[in-house]
């Protein structure tokens, strides 16, 4: 049985239909990479999986918890769904007034459903920081860290609640190019350890190497999905081909450049 199942998600912002009927399944222990042009609805889809967005319609089930958005779920229902997921933001959204360790343990100690004793939470938090390579930064504040380190703390914070499904929303898009690798390597490590992950990203190389399933979203629907070999190397749909061409070679549409190469 799938760990995550999504059926019939529809989401509208004002007059703009961002998601127009999306179904998706994610198997336990797999990595699903969601790609697509900006504004295609991929981030909204990801945010609908843990109730950061409330679609008008659609059912999301994660590991026996089911939320039917058409029936106006209560805060408790959404909270239950959230307890199954960890979320990593593009702009990390760490708590600036808390230390790195406190950022990781906050949900363990103060999340109403968990309420771990502080000593236990701190030990777990410290081991997670070691795992993301920041064991020596426990007492630092987020503003003392580089962008890549901040994002790794964001990942440790998401891991702390031991979720069934990790959601990543463009985790490297706000980073300097030379530190993107640190974060992607950490994510690959997590994938190898067996975490189930859904990743919205523009990193096609990451998708090729790590994804089990690649989902191409455009104009609010899934255009095609399959293995990286199927979707990235041999895309069937013209829209997928067009998107990949633009992403892999952003200068390709430059007529002047084409002439230079030709001459």
């Amino acid at each position: 049985m799938s760990l995550l199942s999504v059926r019939g998600i529809h989401k509208t912002f004002g007059k703009n239909q961002v998601i127009r009927g999306i179904d998706l399944d994610i198997e336990p222990g797999t990595v699903t990479v969601i790609i697509g042009p900006s504004g295609c609805g991929k981030t909204t889809l990801l945010r609908s999986l843990n109730g950061l967005e409330s679609p008008e319609k659609g059912v999301v089930s994660i590991d026996s918890v089911q939320v039917n958005y058409a029936e106006k779920p209560t805060a408790a229902d959404v909270s239950l769904l959230r307890s199954k997921t960890g979320f990593v933001f593009q702009a990390h959204h760490l708590f600036p007034h808390r230390t790195v360790l406190q950022n990781v343990t906050e949900g363990l100690i103060y999340g109403p459903s968990l309420k771990r004793p502080a000593s236990e939470a701190n030990a777990l938090g410290q081991s997670l920081l070691d795992q993301v390579g920041l064991g020596d930064k426990a007492k630092a504040y987020p503003s003392d860290l580089s962008g890549g380190q901040q994002q790794r703390v964001g990942i440790a914070r998401a891991l702390a609640l031991q979720p069934k499904l990790l959601l990543f929303d463009e985790p490297t898009s706000a980073l300097d190019p030379e530190i993107v690798g640190d974060v992607l390597q950490l994510m690959r490590k997590l994938a190898r350890e067996g975490w189930t992950m859904a990743v919205v990203t523009h990193e096609i190389q990451f998708a090729k190497q790590v994804a089990n399933n690649v989902v191409f979203v455009d104009q609010g629907v899934i255009v095609e999905q399959g293995t990286p070999q199927e979707v990235l190397a041999n895309p069937r749909h013209p829209r997928t081909r067009e998107f990949l061409r633009r992403v892999l070679d952003p200068l390709a549409d430059d007529a002047e450049y084409a002439e230079e190469v030709a001459s």
Binding site: R82, F89, H93, H97
Partner: protein
Amino acid sequence: MDRWQLALDSLWPLVRAALIGTIPLTLISFILGLIVAVLIALAKLSKIRALRLFGSFYVSLIRGTPLLVQIFIIFYVFPFIGIRMDAWTCGIIALTVNVGGYAAETIRGAILAVPKGQWEASATINLDYVTTLRRIILPQAFKIAVPPLSNTFISLVKDSSLVSTIGVLELLRQAQVIATPTYDFLTLYIEAALIYWAICIVLSFAQKRLENYFDNKATV
């Protein structure tokens, strides 16, 4: 009597009135007023329409009427409904209600200035509304609100002189009491003004220390 001698003789009674009147009045009503302000700010930010309307009504009423009138109304309304309350308590209630209205707008603005991502990040680690406010949002909002709230606090030190009109013994009232038999109001009022000023200078230093403390502790 010699003017300077009078000023010297009344210095301690005036300072004492500041210590047992003005300063505790200001401190107590500021702290209670902040609690009122947070509640009114949350009401104004609430999803529930009735709460939003109540919050707006409160702020509008408090900011739209003179503090002196508010003090008189509170002083006379309790006996009218059969509750005995001394002038001190009435003074604290009036100042609390007033500060609550002004600081509510400051705190509402500060809460809105905390990035939306902080609410979302709190939601993803499953903190509930009250915990999110207490642990994540309000500490950051207070940091943003320190300079404007300091202003409100310094204003309150001086506004507390208005409760002298209902007979609360504080700095201004004490100056009047001493001046009445001597007819030397000028000396006593100047002296009182200098003491108010001294208190506010100390508070301005405290404000700078507090801002530095927050700057060192965290950046938003």
